[in-house]
Symmetry: C2
Subunit: 405 residues, 2 copies
């Protein structure tokens, strides 16, 4: 059960984007496991991929194709990650692209493939390609909700967000979906995220805006610290909006950038809210750090500590474990007396020891909630960074001691 994750929004359709789903029976018969995005000519397509050095075949093929030709279709399957499949996996990924390209009469490089699911099993290419006609016949502007469900694996709920930005008399729309629940510690990329907007924008600027949005969102969430071999986020800007081209310093730029950042943050936090076995949504803020690196080192050390995460599961205001995590984060010459730690509004550590007015009851009240914030003030600079994570529960163990990924 996800923590504080609401139902899907009513998505804004995006002119220039149609989405269709189909059942290929890749892993579970009957479920929708193939999703196709059709993208209008002239769209700007930006993408980021996992930094895990073991890039799955679809990630490698998508990267090649993105550089080689204008993207016209995204081809997504669940049930099989086509990862750890060597040269055969590359062949299979290309074969799926070729099948779709042939049917749609476009160059094979205009297809970007994405796969998520079990690692190490060969992709059932014929099942996938047999489902393409169904997906293509299903293409529609309001396919976002179906797509959000179609890309799920161990997610318990679909994840989506939508925004609109008024610029003068006109409106720009953004919609996005994401998936991922375990093997989450996106590293300069994301789990799977698909975003589209009808804005007109230069390709290079679009890539920069996406990278910035991902850095502040998907790269600030973690479920279990394990970065997937398949993380990818693609963002399409179709240019179909009547709003004049979005450019730095121009009308609507700031509002558009903020909407993109906000949409990505909502999608990224949804991954944590639906983290495998999660019962708590945790915000970890590190303040007054000297630089970004030390702020993130401290935040992620806390976020990844099994002892902190199990204490959170137990609603145990175990600040000693948080202290120990800060102490091993590798901050140079940390002045312990300057460190303050808060649980919610309750100060738990001051001057390197338990705060004098701290009581177990006050700490317990904070920890009993399903949304908890931990704030660490290092007292040595002006940089603040925030990371989001969830707790470590029995269900995490149960889910991962059974699911073959």
């Amino acid at each position: 059960m996800a923590v504080g994750l609401g139902p899907l929004p009513k998505f804004h359709s995006i002119d220039g984007v149609r989405i269709g789903v189909a059942s290929a029976g890749i892993k579970k018969p009957g479920r929708k496991d193939v999703v196709v995005f059709e993208i209008a000519r002239g769209s700007a397509v930006a993408a980021l991929f996992t930094r895990n050095q073991f890039r799955a075949a679809p990630v490698r093929v998508a990267s090649e194709h993105l550089a080689a030709a204008a993207t016209r279709y995204l081809l997504i399957n669940t049930g099989n990650a086509n990862a750890g499949t060597g040269e055969r996996g590359m062949t299979d990924a290309r074969a799926c692209c070729a099948a779709l390209a042939a049917t749609c009469d476009v160059p094979v490089e205009s297809i970007l493939p994405f796969s998520t699911g079990v690692i190490g099993e060969p992709l059932p290419v014929s099942k996938l390609t047999a489902a393409l006609p169904e997906a293509l016949a299903d293409l529609k502007a309001d396919g976002w909700a179906a797509a959000a469900s179609g890309i799920m694996t161990t997610d318990t709920l679909p994840k989506g967000a939508t925004r609109q930005v008024a610029v003068g008399e006109e409106v720009i729309h953004l919609s996005g979906i994401s998936k991922g629940a375990g093997m989450i510690r996106p590293d300069m990329a994301t789990m799977l995220g698909f975003i589209a907007t009808d804005a007109r924008i230069d390709s290079a600027l679009w890539q920069r805006l996406l990278a910035g949005a991902i850095e502040r969102s998907f790269n600030r969430v973690t479920v279990d610290g394990d970065t997937s071999t398949n993380d990818a986020c693609v963002a399409v800007a179709t240019g179909c909006s009547a709003v004049p081209e979005i450019a730095e310093g121009g009308a609507g730029f700031i509002a558009f950038r903020d909407a993109l950042n906000s949409l990505c943050l909502e999608l990224a936090q949804a991954l944590v809210r639906d983290g495998e076995g999660a019962t708590k949504f945790i915000t970890i803020a590190v303040e007054q750090a000297r630089d970004r690196k030390e702020a993130l080192d401290v935040a992620f050390t806390i976020a990844h500590s099994p002892l902190v995460k199990t204490a959170l599961f137990a609603s145990d205001p175990n600040w000693g474990r948080i202290l120990a995590a800060v102490g091993r984060a590798g901050v140079e010459n940390l002045d312990l007396d300057a460190v303050r730690i808060h649980l919610g509004d309750v100060c738990i550590v001051h001057n390197g020891a338990r705060a004098e007015d701290y009581t177990e009851a006050r700490g317990q009240a904070v920890m009993n909630e399903s949304e908890i914030s931990i704030t660490v003030n290092l007292g040595r600079g002006a940089v603040k960074e925030t990371v989001w994570t969830c707790d470590f529960s029995h269900d995490y163990v149960t889910i991962n001691a059974e699911y073959r990924t």
Copy 2:
């Protein structure tokens, strides 16, 4: 239940070392929670302490005292770590040392304090000092087994090892005990380890030998990646042996050093075998690395991956998760095709993909055992490093969602 951890050995007594235990009722009434080591004048005492920046008060006091005077007593308590206790904790640690020093008529700096247990609660000084007469009255040469039990906290079994080294006609003896089960990722120090030998050896050489032994043993084990605020290892060389002084290049040096390394490795591996909730003892070897850093980065990334550790708990030969861990370990320009991974003797990954002759049955056979080895060959150098860890089970969550540390 520990994995493959045998009963305590019959310890060799160490001339110049006597040990006594007592019940102070620090946390649990009736259990032996105070341990005193009495050390002969003229002993060489070496020690390493945690690199966690939040050093507990006893660690700070012990470090000061070690530098200030010859050590005559070790004063150890369980039930309370006297960590996160600020200035009061320092005062309390000194007060306990002062009480023992006064009773034994030695300088206060000749006492080294060690505490382990709950973080953040003030040390019950009067209870502790009230138990000192009982501990002193109990001092005996064959107190090692009682001490091994006396220093336990969440350990399910006491941990000890003993060795003897023949040099000419004479024999050098070594004995040691350790404790620790959770919050284990010793960083240039250890959980709690106490070692003694009757060898004669120069102080500086003894510190170097201890540091080398700890690097190869305690610094190569991890349960949950969480480095404690209290890690410490002390080694006493009393010089009471008839064997001539141990010196580099001299008679018995290599055998003595090897015995110390072997003893420390046994004690360190015992921590992992008794890791909280452990059901598997895992050996992770990284071979043909360019340097020590990348070998350890890869080994520890695997050892800390929640997805690998839960798969191990499930006896699931989930090599995909091991692959993903290697891929995110941060090795520069890793050539995936050169990477080979074995589970036991079974090759699971070859050329960046599942090995052609791999079958689930062969992998499963390896994973069904309680002792499992994972070997990663990077194919790019000559360095090998080995790390030991255990799995992540439901019991880890249960234990840590309930124990206030």
